[in-house]
């Protein structure tokens, strides 16, 4: 099965301040793929490159099996997109925007659009510019879903929305994926939100990909180890050391990625003992990943 999105050695630069360098990313077909990163990490730029809104300096992007941007019109016919900021014309009504969008997509599902208008409690005669932030987000999600695309690309779709609207939107997305077997690529800095719905997650910072793995692996493989008797030099461990701190004088606290239970044997081979293994939730893991990455990367 081909990947819904496949990026190879992508390079893009905006002036001298920011660049995406050697980005490799594979988004499996049928996954709900969370794209995490702090503000300014390059998530929106990556999404714009995926959609052909920006042209890379080098590298290759394949979306739904076709090269982007060479086949952008063909690809965009199968991709629903919700940008970070409302991009629709404020002077058109909800109904007019739905009709406009429908004209461009042969696969447009009128029944689903009507259903979502009711479900999201949108007023068809209301101007887009007069809608609340939550209603705007709902309408943009509606337009993306009714296209019946094979891939939805959502750039911080629920940022700044109240929990009720967030839940409505996420529930609509999960329903869509379960019915259509589509792929969702969703960027956010709201870690808890992605933790609930995503089965894959990638973390980006400063234009570079820090990690990409199945959600379960990331969640369950990221641990805080409380250790005692640890020597100063530990060689090359079989897990990823995200942080290492001494705690209470005698012991140490490590945050590690890719942890598996059998790895306690490695710790013991160092002459140390594992006093506790604490599960970290995604947010803690995310913070530790970023801290570890930034510690290793020289910043200007």
């Amino acid at each position: 099965m081909t990947d819904a999105i496949h990026i190879e050695r992508l390079h893009y630069r905006v002036g001298k301040a920011f660049e995406i360098k050697n980005l490799d990313l594979r988004v499996p077909t049928g996954s709900i793929y969370g794209f995490l990163g702090p503000n300014g990490s390059g998530k929106t730029t990556t999404i714009r490159l995926i959609l052909g809104l920006l042209r890379p300096l080098s590298g290759r992007i394949t979306v739904l099996g076709d090269p982007m941007p060479e086949q952008h019109a063909r690809i965009l016919g199968r991709v629903g997109y919700v940008p970070e900021q409302p991009h629709l014309d404020a002077t058109l009504t909800v109904r007019e925007l739905i009709d406009f969008q429908a004209a461009f997509y042969p696969s447009w599902d009128r029944a689903q659009a009507e259903d979502l208008v009711d479900r999201f409690e949108l007023d068809g005669d209301q101007l887009f510019g007069r809608l609340s932030k939550g209603q705007k987000a709902k309408l943009m999600i509606l337009l993306a879903l009714a296209q019946r695309g094979d891939l939805l690309v959502l750039d911080e779709p629920t940022d700044g929305l109240d929990p009720v609207v967030r839940r409505d939107i996420l529930s609509a997305l999960v329903t869509y994926v379960s019915e259509r077997g589509a792929t969702i690529f969703i960027s956010s800095h709201l870690v808890h939100e992605l933790e609930r719905v995503c089965d894959w997650v990638a973390v980006m910072d400063d234009g570079r990909l820090i990690t990409a793995s199945p959600m379960e692996k990331l969640k369950h493989g990221t641990k805080r180890l409380v250790l005692s008797g640890v020597p100063r030099e530990i060689g090359d461990p079989p897990f990823r050391m995200l942080s290492r701190e001494s705690s209470n004088g005698a012991g140490e606290s490590w945050v590690v990625g890719g942890w598996e239970p059998g790895m306690t044997a490695y710790i013991e081979s160092l002459g140390a003992s594992v006093r506790d293994v604490i599960d970290l939730d995604l947010e803690d893991g995310f913070v530790e990943l970023l801290r570890s990455f930034r510690g290793r990367t020289p910043h200007p």
Binding site: L51, G52, L53, A73, R74, I75, L76, G77, R78, V79, Y81, P83, H87, L88, D89, A90, T91, L92, E96, D99, F100, A102, A103, F104, Y105
Partner: protein, 221 residues
């Protein structure tokens, strides 16, 4: 493609309907007003010279109206896309040149209304006015010329407003450079007339802007 064009046409109508309606009324009224004195029962027909003078002065309104319609329609064609930073348009599933063509076509279809209004107004004015002997009416020629002027104005302004702020900056920069060169040449007593040359190239036939110049006469010898 028809559905797409209809959708684009509808949005364009919504954004520019006031311009289209007012432009159509003006386009219909100008030919009628230009011959208003030609057949007044109380005063008799205007003399040929008076009529030509009146028609000529009213005639300067046609290129002005054509330019205004072209400019305003071009601005409204792109303004919502500019406001949304073109993201919506660029993520629609069609080649970009096709989208541009749809937008251009929609604007021009709407401009057909004032063009038709000039034709109707000119025909009506020609039929109802008493034209002094030796003069002829040219309603169709006037309408065709008006259509051409509207098309040229719309095409030029459409291309300019499609560009980014950077494009506008480049255009302004080129104009500013030409002005600067002309001023410097004037100070240095160098025989250089860029504006004259530009006028010759652009506004004198067969220059692209020649359609705006000269006399716009509904009635002529």
């Amino acid at each position: 493609m028809t559905q797409m064009f209809r959708a684009v046409l509808y949005t364009q109508w919504k954004w520019s309907r006031l311009i289209v309606v007012l432009g159509t009324i003006a386009a219909f009224a100008i030919p009628l007003l230009s011959l208003q004195g030609a057949a007044r029962a109380d005063r008799g027909a205007l003399q040929a010279q008076d009529l030509l003078r009146s028609v000529q002065s009213w005639g300067s309104l046609y290129p002005l109206l054509a330019t205004a319609l072209g400019l305003l329609m071009a601005i409204t064609a792109w303004a919502p896309d500019h406001r949304g930073r073109h993201i919506h348009a660029l993520t629609l599933p069609l080649p970009r040149w096709q989208y541009v063509l749809l937008r251009f076509g929609a604007g021009f279809v709407l401009l057909a209304a004032p063009i038709a209004a000039v034709s109707l107004g000119a025909l009506l004015a020609s039929l109802t006015a008493t034209i002094p002997p030796g003069l002829q009416t040219y309603p169709i020629a006037l309408a065709v010329r008006f259509a051409l002027a509207v098309f040229v104005a719309y095409a030029v302004f459409f291309a300019v407003s499609a560009g980014t702020a950077r494009t506008a900056g480049i255009i302004l920069g080129v104009i500013a450079t030409i002005i600067l060169v002309q001023v410097v040449a004037g100070i240095a007593n160098i025989d250089l007339n860029i504006f004259g040359a530009a006028q010759t190239v652009l506004a004198i036939g067969p220059g692209p802007l020649a359609v705006f110049t000269g006399r716009w006469m509904l009635v002529d010898v």
